[in-house]
Amino acid sequence: MSAIAPPATAETSPPTPDYSEYKLVPARHPWRWVGTVLVAAGVAAIAWSLVTNPRWEWGVVAEWFTAQSVVNGLIETLKLTAISGVLGFVLGFILALMRLSASPLLVSVSWTFSWIFRSTPLLVQLLLWYNLGYLYEKISLGIPFTDVRFFEAQTTTLISQFAAAVLGLTLNQAAYSAEIIRGGILSVDQGQLEAASALGIPAWKRSTRIVLPQAMRAILPNAFNEIIGLVKGTSIVYVLAYSELFYTVQVIYNRTQQVLPLLLVATLWYVVITSVLSVFQYYIERHFSKGALRTLPLTPLQKARKFFTTHVAATPTKDAR
């Protein structure tokens, strides 16, 4: 019913010139170049000093890097990390489920566990476990409040250095990983659980097939933080005179007095382990990001291949043109 207004006519604006033949020139960023040069100079200076300063004693580092005793220590470190890492996360998963359960008792037990183990120093925990024999001479398994015993042993024979180390690291790790896993589970939308139970999917499958795969995205970065922390954290069991990597190099430098080179040996091994773990982390995170990103980014290998095929392999055609 309303009359259409005539289109507004350009009375005042002058005709637009034709820019279609012009070339586009991106903005220059001179300060970015200045920053790059400064940082490059700094990195070069550090590298130069590492190479030329004889006090780093790279010869000694190389000599000890693959020495049998150091490698044995390294294996012990990896063993401790793997065992307490796996056990810690399994226990942490159970604690997280307890914390999220509807039972007030389970919730408070889980909370108390995390509270105790997060609020006492790991050093104290380790020494306490190692000296458990002082507190309880015997450890036995039986029916409480009766004399029935299925198993009984001296605490000191049961709790070796290794057992004390694993126990301390595991329980401590469990307290932290419980919170990480709980955080991951909470990050999954409630509607996912609702949809799964509306479809008749049983509770255990809801957790393992629907919630956990999604929770993993939030869990993994923190979990790898913890694992990497644990690799270096195992060095604390030197207080039990347990011959893992760090204790081993300490023993060696106390004998040879080559303190810094041997600390470098341990450091370099920690760097190697962390680097390997970081590669794992990248691929595992990528696996669990299925569906979370519209398109998965290329892996470094794929990028290299693409670079090769588009740049190197494509050059002849460019020349031919």
Binding site: Q192, S197, A198, G200, P202
Partner: protein
């Protein structure tokens, strides 16, 4: 001086249910049209009550939907529509009253003169007969469209993967998404996601499908592709109960329109009765707000 635009002729025939001595505010919906040969999917909701804390969201609601019937529940926000829908598959526990599907109690069993809540396992089994489609789709983002559809048949019904895949592809074809079977939900538009969710709900071959505001999270131009799929389902003989704000859709598809307000069914009847000739003042004033006057011009 009718406020509401009525596209269909109005009728003043009283409902069949009223003469049957059912208390006011309850419905015994009309029998399903003859072309639907549905024999299963009778839903009876009897005097259901539900409170969240001090707020009573359902104040004794009764509703019957015959096999193959299409009931559309409308009403203002907070009227208890979605809660009522969620009690039908026991996602929400009732505080009083009961619900039966084909005569079988949902979520409870009779022992002596008490209704005992079923074990989780048995409730899950009942839920496989009741498909549900959510406002926010709730597709599993880490699974592809096809994997979303076949998850429940494989995990809850223990069907073979090959069989589930075959049926899953048929269902995706039915909602027009066979070519997107391997796409992840985030690679799909909202309308496509909701169509996958409908296929997922159909995969268990349910007697009843519940739709909880299936188009409310969609851009306006995507609403119709979802409604078209539901329209097709309405002809298939599956019992549909739909909570929606799409009044045009309710008018076209429903056998029974149920108007809810403040935890109660205010009135229900055929689309003609409810839209063109509402008996209650509350119904009248609600429709005058939600149906755009532009339709009248």
């Amino acid at each position: 001086m009718s406020i509401i635009a009525a596209r269909k002729e109005s009728t003043t025939t009283p409902q069949a249910g009223e003469s049957a001595g059912v208390p006011a505010g309850t419905t015994a919906a009309r029998p399903a049209p003859a072309d639907k040969k549905a024999t299963r999917g009778q839903v009876d909701i009897t005097n259901v009550r539900k409170s969240f804390g001090a707020t009573e969201v359902l104040k004794g609601v009764s509703l019957s939907v015959p096999p193959g019937g299409v009931a559309v529940i409308v009403g203002p926000s907070g009227s208890g529509k979605s809660t009522l829908l969620r009690t039908i598959n026991h996602l929400e526990k009732v505080d009083g009253g009961y619900i039966t599907i084909d005569g079988e109690l949902v979520g409870y069993e009779v022992r002596g003169n008490k209704l005992h809540e079923l074990r989780e396992k048995d409730i899950l089994k009942q839920r496989t007969h009741i498909g549900m489609v959510f406002q926010s789709f709730n597709l599993f983002p880490h699974l592809t469209a096809l994997e979303n559809v076949i998850e429940a048949p494989i995990v809850a019904q223990k069907r073979s993967k090959a069989e589930a895949r075959k049926r899953g592809l048929e269902l995706l074809d039915r909602v027009g998404l066979k070519d997107r079977a391997d796409a992840y939900p985030r690679q799909l538009s909202g309308g496509q996601q909701q169509r996958v969710a409908i296929a997922r709900a159909l995969a268990l071959d349910p007697k009843i499908l519940l739709f909880d505001e299936p188009t409310s999270a969609l851009d306006p131009e995507l609403v119709n592709e979802v409604l078209d799929v539901i329209r097709e389902l309405a002809k298939s003989g599956t019992t549909l109960i739909v909570v929606t704000h799409e009044m045009g859709f309710a008018r076209d598809v429903a056998d029974t329109v149920v108007f809810m307000d403040q935890g109660q069914i205010v009135e229900s009847g055929t689309p003609q009765e409810i839209f063109a000739n509402p008996r209650e003042e509350r119904t009248r004033s609600f429709f005058s707000k939600v149906i755009e006057p532009a339709f009248n011009i």
